[in-house]
């Protein structure tokens, strides 16, 4: 049992905190919400120079060779400032997918370029015809035609599709939704013919897309993992991505608590700091309780997964809990900080809007509780 981060992780956190505080202010985030691209290439390159793109990528592929806990530290810091841009898509959905696939050819092709900041990825998974999250409710068809596959169907909520060089597409090669069997993952070049994007407009101004595939042709070399058995690979990718998403939320929640408790110490009404009112104290205490639980659960799951333990139940528990916790924290953060924090220019709405995006991303609490229930033997 050891809750210490390593010296390297502490340095990583400090570097990330300093860099992001200097380069990613709240007004920058608001600006990027309105920006069509949603991030700045020069910031991306700076991050790349710091080695962040390669953080989790093995050294043999020009990466830093870090582990999932290193990545958790990074996402905590990014969540803390609501960093815009395709880092999550490229690393947590993209690089991790390729690493999990254990396909040396694809690794050589993609990982070094990702490491160098030259390549952006994303994943196309959910679909408009399925109105609730379920990873196996996939209807987009990939039909074998000679040495290639033809992909047809529509994907929803694809993050950063407008800047991705390649899209990892979850397709059905056999069976009917919601069968777990019959899914396959393909890496699709974003410039492929037949790919069409429509930007969605979400409450957080993040960049999500509807992506339609009209007979998009991919070679059989684009298959990631095994044909028809993609769900196994998908599950292991999603578990790691879930922890990264939870870490993002944790960073945001921690920042909200700091804002709220800071405000409670300074803001005076009735002749004293509002933080001396028990109601405000208890709101702040409730935030801390929810955050501490989230924090150690995230670290535990990251540790379990980094040990190669599937941790199906713990990961689902983590996403469900942290989603709910972040929601509660932003509610209380607003309640403590009053009308001022309801203004769009205040930092607070950045977090309360993203809390809902993160809640729905990679499965909401409802979905993950169904996983926990099954794991309980129900």
């Amino acid at each position: 049992m050891d809750f210490h981060f390593t010296e390297e992780q502490r340095i990583l956190r400090k570097t990330a905190r300093d860099f992001l505080e200097a380069n990613c202010s709240a007004s920058f985030v608001l600006e990027m919400e309105k920006d069509e691209k949603g991030y700045k290439e020069d910031l991306w390159l700076k991050m790349s120079e710091l080695g962040w793109m390669g953080l989790i990528i093995p050294e043999e592929y020009d990466g830093v060779g870090g582990n999932l806990l290193d990545l958790v530290v990074m996402f905590e810091e990014m969540g803390r400032v609501c960093l815009p841009g395709p880092f999550f898509s490229t690393i947590a959905l993209g690089a991790l997918s390729i690493m999990e696939s254990a396909d040396d050819g694809l690794k050589s092709e993609f990982l070094p370029a990702i490491s160098r900041g030259e390549l952006k990825l994303t994943m196309a998974h959910e679909e408009p015809d399925f109105t609730r999250y379920d990873p196996y409710s996939v209807g987009l068809k990939a039909i074998k035609k000679g040495d290639a596959f033809l992909l047809s169907g529509t994907k929803m909520f694809v993050p950063d599709a407008h800047v991705a060089d390649s899209i990892i597409c979850v397709a059905r090669t056999d069976g009917q939704p919601p069968a777990r069997y019959g899914l396959s993952l393909f890496i699709v070049d974003a410039g492929s013919k037949g790919l069409n994007l429509r930007p969605l407009k979400t409450m957080a101004g993040d960049k999500q897309f509807e992506v339609s595939f009209n007979d998009v042709r991919v070679s059989k070399g684009a298959l990631l993992g095994r044909l028809d058995r993609g769900s196994d690979l998908l599950d292991s990718i999603l578990r790691k991505a879930v922890v990264c998403k939870c870490a993002e939320m944790l960073g945001g929640a921690q920042k909200v608590l700091e804002m709220a408790s800071g405000y409670a110490k300074e803001r005076e009404q009735f002749g004293k700091p509002i933080g001396s009112f028990q109601a405000v104290q208890h709101h702040c205490a409730n935030m801390l309780i929810d955050i501490e639980g989230s924090r150690y659960l995230i670290y535990k799951v990251a540790w379990l997964l980094s040990q190669g333990i599937p941790a199906v139940m713990e990961t689902a528990a983590c996403k469900s809990w942290v989603s709910e916790a972040f929601k509660k924290v932003v509610s209380l953060g607003h309640q403590v900080q009053g009308a001022t924090a309801y203004m769009i220019e205040h930092d607070m709405p950045l977090y309360s809007r993203r809390a809902r995006i993160a809640e729905m991303s990679l499965g909401d609490g409802r979905y993950h509780r169904t996983v926990v229930a099954s794991q309980l033997g129900l």
Partner: protein, 393 residues
């Protein structure tokens, strides 16, 4: 015990419903509910509402009212609310300022303002909150110094929401600057022309897209006869009005349309071939929301009944406010659980369900438990007034 309405009241409701079905659009409803500023359609609707005799039912005849029971006003608010959460378009004047003018204003103020309010012609904006005076409103610092027939007003207000389209500012300012005077005994109320020289308005935009304002007063001259009631009694007037204001603002039926839209969504939306409405979890949560709406309605009914019968309002409207506002937050969360990621989409997005109303409601919902008094202050008021517990601060 009688939870029914009289035949006259029911007839009024029917007439009103016909009118609203013809004249009220979602756009008009939203102008007010979302504080987007009441535009020409809203102004026209307001005048029409008045012209058809739906405004002023409970106001005295001498100012253009009909002298009937406030119950009619609540029927109006309920039927408006059922339609996209609409409110009286010029609601600050109609539901908040007007009643205080009626209670405390001079005959001249009554004659000047009340008929125009009832005709749906003018709007006011509240001028209470200051940067350092939120929950502790009585600590306000805006100064009004008497000089001959005028008060010279200086200072700053914030979160004054309707200022950019209202004709008048309903301003609270400190008129007793002497040291040692209890802070709540030195405040007076004024009606200020918004186009008075020296007033500057700066917009503040909320996270859900409404506009509110900072208002700066720089040696603004306000005629003495525009002071409402007695000097230094303003805080008492604000407090005596608060119960009735809550009754007029926190209308449970304004949540009815959101609930109905969610029910409809659950019926119409399928996942893997089955309507969401069949899922026991969905059913349980939507049923809970409907139950809470029933509760909110009887709480409001009780508090309204006190008002309609001129009985003192104490903690009761505070309960209605807290329950209704917190219920709204729970309802929004229920909606989010139902819509999943689709609930994140804003109104002009592809694939958006329910015209993006749910996303807007979410963004808006943070304000409901803060605006017009926080739930925290409210609960202490309930404990102290409703149960006689000692003061906590």
């Amino acid at each position: 015990m009688d939870f029914g309405y009289s035949r006259e009241e029911e007839e009024y409701r029917e007439r009103l419903c016909r009118f609203l079905d013809e004249n009220l659009t979602e756009e008009i409803a939203r102008q007010n509910w979302e504080d987007r500023g009441v535009g020409s359609e809203g102004r026209e609707f307001s005048r029409k509402l008045a012209a058809y005799g739906f405004l002023g039912m409970s106001w005295p005849k001498e100012y253009g009212g009909k002298g009937l029971s406030p119950t009619y006003e609540f029927i109006l608010l309920d039927e408006l609310g059922k339609r996209w959460g609409c409110h009286v378009p010029l609601d600050v004047g109609y539901t908040m300022v007007g009643p205080t003018i009626l209670r405390r204003g001079s005959e001249a103020l009554k004659s000047e303002f009340l008929p125009r309010i009832i005709e749906g012609e003018i709007e006011f904006c509240l001028g209470y909150t200051e940067p350092n005076s939120g929950s502790d409103l009585a600590s306000m610092q805006m100064k009004a110094v008497e000089e001959g027939d005028y008060f010279i007003v200086n200072g700053q207000k914030t979160f004054n929401t309707e200022c950019h389209y209202s004709e008048y500012h309903w301003l609270a300012a400190r008129t007793d600057q002497s040291r040692g005077a209890p802070k709540y005994k030195g405040i007076s109320l004024f009606i200020v022309d918004m186009d008075s020289p020296g007033i500057t308005i700066r917009p503040l935009w909320t996270m859900s897209g409404e506009r509110t304002n900072e208002v700066y007063y720089d040696n603004v001259k306000v005629p003495r006869h525009r002071m409402v009631g007695e000097k230094n009694m303003g805080f008492y007037y604000m407090m005596e009005a608060i119960g009735s204001e809550r009754n007029q603002v926190f209308i449970p039926m304004r949540l009815y349309s959101l609930l109905q839209e969610l029910v409809q969504y659950a019926r119409d939306t399928h996942h893997n071939g089955r309507p969401l409405a069949e899922d026991p979890l969905v059913r349980d949560r939507l049923a809970q929301a409907a139950i809470e709406l029933e509760v909110a309605r009887v709480l409001a009914d009780h508090s309204r009944w006190l008002e309609s019968n001129h009985m003192p309002l104490s903690y009761e409207p505070e309960i209605t406010k807290i329950f209704t506002s917190e219920m709204e937050q729970r309802l929004v969360d229920t909606g989010m659980q139902l819509l999943g990621a689709f609930g994140l989409l804003m109104e002009d997005s592809p694939r958006v369900p329910m015209r993006g109303r749910l996303a807007w409601y979410y963004l808006h919902s943070f304000m409901t438990t803060i605006g017009a008094g926080t739930s925290e202050i409210g609960r202490s008021v309930i404990a102290q007034r409703g149960l006689g517990l000692p003061r906590s601060y």
